[in-house]
Amino acid sequence: MRFPQGLASPARGISVILLIGLASGCASIPEEAYRLPPSSLSAREAQTRTFDVADESEILQATVALLQDMEYNLDTIEPPLGILSASKVVDADSTRQKAGLIAADVAAVILSVLSGSSPGDSAYDTADDEFRLKITLVVLPSLAREGEHTARITLQQTLIDKAARVKKMGVIDDPVVYQEIFEKLSKALFLEGAEQ
């Protein structure tokens, strides 16, 4: 780009910075945000399972029952597209951590009673973070195998502390998590089949 004659070098520098700012807009988008990650095919494989079930609604019903067992709330369901989304909020602290925090609070109360002072902030109240989980399941007739159905799951997590600060967020990419859900879904389908 050629600047007009008479544009002195300090002014040129400032103009270039302003032009770059204008061109990039007010918000910058991370470059890879909408780009397929190199691991997308392996992730797709881990998130997908084919079931030898001919009826799509049978899988959706079993999934709803499973999600209810897993304490999720249904957010949206669109059977013609085989789409189902659900979410839940869970404590991030383990039961063991919680027991430790409760014990610490009990000890603090006993000490305060003995010493006649007022107890400080509750360790239990200040320590717990929460996970917000959102799951989408898509059940569709298999393209590769006639008469069968594929189910694909996407799972997102947000870890939020007590002050509503986001500590961690993103897609859960651990294949073991998906494997466990599919195993439970297989069992739920088996039970549904046995009940009929």
Binding site: L22, P30, R35, Q47, L143, Q156, V166, G170
Partner: protein, 154 residues
């Protein structure tokens, strides 16, 4: 002004460029008292956001759109086969300290001559994305999903 006037060590003409660009930058970022109800959508933006396909029908295109959104790590908020619309969100952490909420609305419509038009609107946090590169990336991902659907790969 026929000749340049020196002012604070800058030539006046150079400074004038700075002032014009600074004003443009401020106008771009400043919030106004009237909310932008109508948005800034233009024909050019619509073209960037739209792509037509003649390989799959509307239902199978919708299936590929859902697969693409899942490939990109989105979860589905709403879906409607009759209207051909899907909205989705993705929580995205960049470099462990930048958190974003990415939202997408995708519509799939039938066009003349067995063609199907896919239109995508993307938002990052509260801002509409107009950057063509973002939409190109999405359509590259959709092309791959359409290819897999066409070749009957689950």
């Amino acid at each position: 002004m026929s000749h340049c006037v020196r002012w604070w060590g800058f030539r006046w003409r150079g400074l004038r460029w700075c002032v014009v660009l600074l004003c443009a930058a401020l106008v771009g970022c400043a919030s106004t008292t009237t909310p932008d109800v109508m948005g800034s959508g233009s024909l050019e933006t619509r073209q960037i956001q739209t792509r037509e396909y003649d390989t799959l029908d509307r239902r199978m295109t919708l299936r590929s759109v859902v697969a693409t959104l899942q490939d990109l790590g989105f979860t589905i908020d709403t879906a409607d086969l009759a209207l051909g619309t899907i909205t989705a969100r993705r929580l995205y952490q960049h470099k462990q300290y930048e958190n974003y909420l990415m939202r997408m609305t995708v519509t799939v419509r039938e066009r003349e001559g067995d063609r199907v038009a896919v239109r995508v609107n993307a938002r990052l946090d509260d801002q509409a994305i107009t950057d063509p590169k973002t939409y190109q990336d999405f359509f590259v991902a959709l092309d791959k999903a359409m290819f897999l659907t066409l070749h009957k790969v689950d």
